[in-house]
């Protein structure tokens, strides 16, 4: 229900990370930067032409490329 990836999310929406696709090294890398399952995120911006995505997770702002962002799935927060 309501599961979308960071690319599909709209700027300003909040959610909780539920799944990170791709190689183990990738999810580890995101993990050590603070992006892990069950962490809540706020999307700050989305750029046109498959540009990067910026999110706030905990106290950190992270910018990640379009391809990476499409591998991170979140459960949207109910309004």
């Amino acid at each position: 229900m309501n599961k979308i990836n960071l690319v599909q999310m709209k700027a300003g929406q909040k959610g909780t990370i539920v799944r990170i696709e791709g190689a183990e090294a990738f999810s580890k890398r995101l993990g050590v930067m603070g992006m892990r399952i069950d962490k809540s995120v706020i999307k700050l911006s989305a750029f046109v032409f498959c540009g990067p995505v910026a999110i706030r997770v905990g106290r950190t702002v992270i910018a990640l490329g379009y391809g990476m962002a499409s591998k991170v799935w979140v459960q949207l927060e109910k309004k």
Binding site: K28, M33, R59, V61, I62, L64, G65
Partner: protein, 570 residues
């Protein structure tokens, strides 16, 4: 001698702490990746000297960029580990701490930015943290110097632990327990800074803010530099220094070898700072009056932006464009450094992941990014005829930069990795650190530039004496005349450009060229081979083969663009 290494996540203040411990001055900025190679310094505790090594930031002991690999390699050579962690971002920082504890090496945790945690709504029980981690924890602040003494004391005797292994999941679960019991987060409202932080990475607001900052930046650089030239440097040279030189000229008999070397040619019977080409006239004038004020105001602005934390936001905003060039947004950092001096720019490409990216970035910097010294001269020489000519040079270079990047991205095998970057919070720059940084950069500029400027002037003078001038000028005159529309003497500008770009540009003044010729000469000078210092660092960083390839591209591009400009400019 004991070896101490400082290791921690990017942008947690390792370099400030290093500077505090050792007294060695290092460049620090508010973005991840300021330190791209390790730095060494010494620390004395109770007559025992220890070597301290500051390592590039790393998130874990499984490195993913070359700068991180350095950290992991150096770690194995250390006697004591000082793990620097950001108190305002405890949970994430503890992952590396866990990995380090597992190595069983003697270690101390420096809980840095401890003074900042309060207004970020974080409270940490450092004693409890020490108990749970099983290694000493010292609250510190690199900016204010808090806890440095205590940290030094603790370094006297650090026990080793046992080495063991945990899985990725076990580490996180352990971190979860620890943070729950030592950290209290208080909820507070968004501050003004945080609202600004969010706005400046937003796709709409961010671009507006970036446009404003770049425009204001240009205005600022010109305002400060021109102010300094008109009120300080020019009056000093004309009113104080010139009379001294005139007296020296009389003493030297107004002629002869020594006179032409030190004072240079007399123009209409007078010393002309721009045209005399003497060691005591043109050399210091170009360096201190025409170039230094611009270098200073550029670094003032850059250092402020670096320390405030704005630059990573620019990286995010420009990521789309940079991807078309085979780079990602973070590559804007070496490019910006290149606008000051190409040497740190090319060194800065170490923050990029692949060899391909590093080659593209380094080539783009050495061809399409004129250093502050050359830019100052372009403004000085062309600005007299009107700002639009300066703008034209910048526009051509920018188009070239885009085109070259697109072409390299198309032709070079491989792909460009995606952006993955932590964006630091805004901080108001600590003024003492800002001042230190500018002093270091300016001193670095003078120490590097002055000897080579002197050497350039010496070479010009000697060549003029031995009459090889005419021979070489004649040899290159068809190329320069037909392709670029420049007089044959301009070959010397290009040759001296290999040593220093600013003094080379200064040599254009006595040639009395037309505006069109000046524009072409400035462009050719910017695009052609970079100065010797840049060549050396390019070679060191990327090797002979890459340097050869870049040189071929340079020669091709310079001939092409210079030739086209010669045809299309009226």
């Amino acid at each position: 001698m004991k070896k101490i290494v400082l290791i921690g996540n990017p942008n947690v203040g390792k370099s400030v702490l290093f500077s505090r411990l050792t007294g060695v001055r290092v460049l620090v900025s508010n973005y991840p990746g300021t330190t791209v190679e390790f730095l060494e310094g010494y620390l004395c505790v109770d007559d025992e000297q220890m070597q301290v090594i500051d390592l590039p930031g790393t998130y874990s002991l499984e490195p993913s960029v070359p700068a991180e690999e350095v950290s992991v390699k150096m770690l194995s050579l250390s006697d004591i580990i000082v793990n620097v962690i950001d108190a305002t971002n405890l949970e994430r920082n503890l992952y590396l701490t866990m990995e380090l504890i597992e190595t069983g090496r003697p270690m101390v945790v420096a809980l840095n930015m401890f003074d900042e945690r309060k207004h970020r709504g974080v409270d940490i029980d450092a004693r409890q943290l020490e108990k749970l981690l099983g290694v000493p924890v010292i609250p510190t602040s690199g900016i204010t110097g808090m806890g440095i003494k205590a940290l030094k004391e603790r370094l006297k005797n650090v026990p080793a632990g046992k080495s063991f292994f945990r899985t990725h999941e076990e580490r996180w679960s352990s971190i979860g327990h620890i943070t729950e019991s030592v950290q209290r987060l208080s909820h507070r409202h968004h501050t003004f800074w945080e609202a600004l932080e969010d706005a400046s990475v937003n796709h709409a607001w961010g671009l507006i803010i970036a446009g404003g900052i770049i425009f204001a930046g240009f205005k600022f650089i010109r305002f400060v530099a021109e102010g300094l030239i008109n009120t300080v440097f020019e009056p000093f040279f004309q009113n104080v220094y010139l009379p001294l030189l005139e007296r020296l000229s009389v003493i030297l008999g107004q002629g002869g070898l020594l006179h032409s070397l030190l004072i240079g040619k007399m123009i209409d019977g007078k010393i002309d700072f721009q045209q005399s080409l003497g060691l005591l006239t043109t050399a210091p004038y170009v360096e201190f009056v025409m170039v230094l004020p611009y270098v200073f105001s550029f670094y003032l602005l850059l250092s402020f932006l670096e320390d405030s934390g704005y630059i990573p936001r620019l990286a995010l905003l420009l990521d789309n464009v940079m991807h078309k060039l085979g780079l990602h947004g973070f590559a804007i950092i070496p490019v910006l450094l290149g606008f000051g001096c190409n040497v740190p720019g090319i060194l800065g490409t170490r923050i990029l992941e692949s060899k391909r990216e590093r080659f593209i970035a380094a080539t783009l910097i050495s061809i399409g990014v004129p250093c502050a010294a050359l830019q100052a001269m372009i403004v000085g020489i062309l600005g007299k005829f009107g700002g639009r000519y300066v703008a034209l040079v910048y526009a051509v270079l920018f188009c070239l930069w885009l085109f070259l990047g697109l072409a390299m991205n198309y032709f070079l095998k491989g792909y460009s990795p995606e952006l993955l970057l932590e964006i630091p919070p805004y901080r108001f720059p600590a003024l003492n650190l800002l001042a230190k940084k500018i002093v270091m950069r300016i001193r670095g500029f003078i120490i590097e530039a002055l000897p080579i400027i002197m050497l350039s002037i010496l070479v010009i003078n000697i060549l003029q004496q031995v009459r090889i001038f005419e021979f070489i000028s004649a040899l290159f005159s068809p190329l320069l005349g037909r392709v670029f529309g420049l007089p044959k003497e301009a070959i010397w500008v290009l040759i001296i450009g290999l040593l220093r770009k600013d003094i080379a540009a200064g040599m254009l003044i006595p040639l009395h060229l037309s505006v069109k010729q000046l524009i072409i000469a400035c462009l050719v000078l910017s695009m052609s081979f970079p100065c010797i210092a840049t060549v050396v660092i390019f070679l060191k960083e990327l090797g002979w083969k890459r340097l050869g390839q870049a040189a071929l591209i340079m020669v091709g591009i310079t001939t092409l663009v210079g030739g086209i400009m010669n045809v299309i400019l009226p």
